[in-house]
């Protein structure tokens, strides 16, 4: 099975404060640490599990500057084979659709049966890229996948999709296909020291938009459907009421308010 996994470098904002930068279109990154997008980490693991089970290759793709090599190499260290980094100033301002165009152009040049992406990026939270990528490649997709099983013939897969309320939807799909992987599908491994050493020596092919056969106007703001105008902090409401007490108390107070206002 030839697989492609798309990974993204994202800021680790769990423990740090986030501030809007002076351009108004980004956040201050100086004090933030970065890591692989959580869901992508699961996608990498799923690809490597499949490779270990039935054989095949895992190609890693990332869009970003050279700092993304760290996340790419982590995927290689865990068992990825080859890697492409798409780096081009023209990509600045791209929305998920434009990014998917660049990824699709890169994936088209590869032999692939299965493309795995994370379901959602932790930074912008759009959940668009994987699905758009499938459309651009003209192959079926399943989103929020929490179970993958390769069927006997190796030409089809059975996937479980996460629905609301803990429900799962199972379906069979023909390959090639794109899956957007949800966190919790597996237990991502830790790279071994040997794997890290080997990954540090691997070549990462760097490609510009032109290398992929795209015109710069197809990406960036010009090639996007959505353009980011600016970030702003949510306005602090005048009437915010903070409920205090233990969870049971606050829940009871909240329920009372909702009932009183006729909202439930």
């Amino acid at each position: 099975m030839n697989m492609v996994v798309c990974v993204k470098r994202v800021p680790d904002t769990a423990e740090s404060e986030v501030h809007i930068d002076s351009s108004g279109k980004g956040i201050e990154t100086g004090k933030l640490s970065f890591r692989m997008n959580d869901a992508d980490n699961y996608a990498v693991e799923e690809a490597i599990l499949i490779k270990e089970k039935i054989g095949g290759t895992v190609n890693v793709i990332s869009i970003g500057d050279e700092k993304s090599d760290e996340q790419i190499r982590m995927a290689l260290a865990k068992g990825g084979d080859e890697a492409v980094r798409i780096t081009d100033p023209a990509l600045e301002g791209s929305d998920g659709f434009a990014l998917a165009k660049a990824l699709a152009a890169a994936v088209k040049g590869m032999e692939y049966d299965l493309v795995l992406t994370g379901a959602l990026a932790d930074d912008d939270g759009c959940a668009v890229v994987g699905v758009a990528l499938a459309e651009l490649l003209g192959v079926p997709h399943a989103a929020y996948v929490k179970k993958v099983e390769v069927l006997e013939d190796g030409k089809r897969i059975k996937v479980g999709r996460e629905l609301e309320g803990g429900l799962m939807e199972f379906l069979e799909m023909d390959l090639p296909a794109v899956l957007t992987i949800q966190t919790g599908i597996n237990e991502p491994r830790y790279a071994s020291f040997k794997g890290i050493k080997a990954a540090a020596k691997k070549e990462i092919a760097v490609k510009s938009v032109a290398d992929l056969g795209l015109d710069p106007s197809e990406v960036g703001e010009a090639g996007s459907w959505a353009v980011l105008e600016s970030f702003s902090y949510p306005v602090v409401g005048e009437k915010a009421e903070i409920l205090e007490g233990d969870p049971a108390e606050t829940a009871a107070k909240l329920a009372a308010i909702l009932k009183e206002k006729g909202l439930v």
């Binding site: 760290e70 982590m74 830790y190 020291f193 890290i196 050493k197 540090a200």
Partner: protein
């Protein structure tokens, strides 16, 4: 000179940190309270290659260097010193005797499973009557019909009594040199050898989950081939082993300091008194500034000593300096961390109280601060 780690080291650090955060953090309190040896964590560390980082792959190791090893020990100690010392004593003391001085066959038989993390190694130097004065060892080994017959007692030996311990490498007097000096040699005693008994775990001030034991040898017989290195070179051998060990102990001190510092920094921002976060009071802010400075210095010195070792340069002095400074800075740092927590810092539930109790041993083990100062002053020609 930018003092930046290369990409391989950065990846390695983030992997170990990630592992520590996800696997060790949720277990820290239980390990401290129960003091049970964390077999499952050790197994997982073995799979990741953390139980033999600086040894070549052909001997089951990860083929890394001392700097990578120091980084791993630091990251483990940032959350749990007991786990870090388990790795440290295993790697710097237990395995190194085989790697540096063992025969090819000893390496195959003992180093390989140890480096793979399937077996734990221990090194027994200290005795009730021979601590800082390690040459005063009273344990004896006499050669009789192709076997060493060992008699004596070792104390405070890390990793000696776990279910996966392969054995202990002990120093023993094997004769008298010309001029009446003791001839000291190093001999490996597998666990389970008749005549070798291991006392129950000590109750320690800190590092509860690490395995520390008193060992008794009573006409304990092992094959002559269990001599590790050259007969009569035991003293020299452990001095060179301790050079490496001190770098790793320094890294352990940096990690414990970092862990305590992060707790204190967060608390200083959260805790309010007189209507303000206590970190806004200069008296508290300056403590944190000093801690951060000490950690930076200790880390740089530790990495420098490790890099010198990796480059094959003499580094006894730098290793002693790193161990001395990092462990003493850690004692101050953890004391201040408790202070910043006020009364809460004196409560067992708070991580800083554990870091505080784990700190003192680092000024003692693998050579007390006085011993480090002796090594440094000797290097200065005094």
């Amino acid at each position: 000179m930018l003092f930046e780690l290369d990409e391989e080291k950065r990846l390695f650090r983030s992997t170990v940190r990630d592992f520590a955060e996800k696997v060790i953090r949720p277990r820290v309190e239980e390990l401290w309270e129960g003091g049970e040896f964390p077999y499952d964590i050790v197994r997982q560390m073995g799979e990741m290659g953390l139980m033999g980082i600086p040894y070549p792959e052909e001997y089951g190791g990860a083929g890394g260097d001392y700097l990578a090893y120091s980084i791993a020990v630091e990251e483990l100690a940032r959350l749990d010193g007991a786990i870090a010392i388990t790795v440290e004593a295993h790697t710097s003391l237990g395995e190194s005797s085989f790697y540096y001085f063992g025969t090819e066959e000893q390496k195959r038989q003992w180093l390989v499973p140890m480096a793979q993390g399937k077996m734990l190694g221990a090194f027994g130097l200290t005795e009730p009557e021979a601590g800082s004065d390690a040459g005063a060892t009273r344990t004896t080994a006499r050669l009789e019909n192709g076997q060493w017959v060992i008699n004596g007692t070792k104390c405070f030996i890390t990793n000696a009594g776990t279910e996966i311990t392969g054995g202990v490498t002990v120093t023993a007097v094997t004769g008298t040199k010309e001029g009446g000096k003791k001839e000291i040699s190093t001999i490996f005693v597998p666990n389970g050898t008749p005549g070798y008994t291991i006392a129950p775990k000590y109750h320690k001030v800190g590092w509860h989950a690490s395995d520390t034991r008193e060992l008794h040898f009573d006409d304990c017989r092992v094959p002559e081939d269990n001599l590790v290195g050259v007969r009569g070179q035991g003293f020299k051998q452990f001095l060179s082993i301790l050079d490496g060990g001190r770098i790793a102990i320094a890294a352990l001190a940096v990690g414990q300091s970092q862990g305590a510092f992060e707790e204190a920094l967060r608390y200083a921002k959260e805790r309010k008194q007189f209507g303000k976060p206590i970190g806004s009071f200069q008296a508290i802010a300056f403590k944190l500034a000093d801690m951060a400075t000490n950690i930076e210095l200790a880390r740089n010195l530790t990495y420098k000593a490790a890099a010198m070792r990796d480059a094959g340069m003499p580094h006894s002095k730098e290793a002693a300096m790193a161990k001395l400074f990092a462990s003493e800075a850690n004692m101050r740092n953890t004391t201040e961390a408790v202070h910043i927590f006020g009364g809460y810092g004196f409560m067992n539930e708070y991580a800083v109280s554990r870091f505080f109790r784990d700190a003192k041993i680092l000024e003692i083990g693998e050579g007390t601060s006085e011993v480090q100062r002796m090594v440094i002053s000797r290097a200065l020609g005094l």
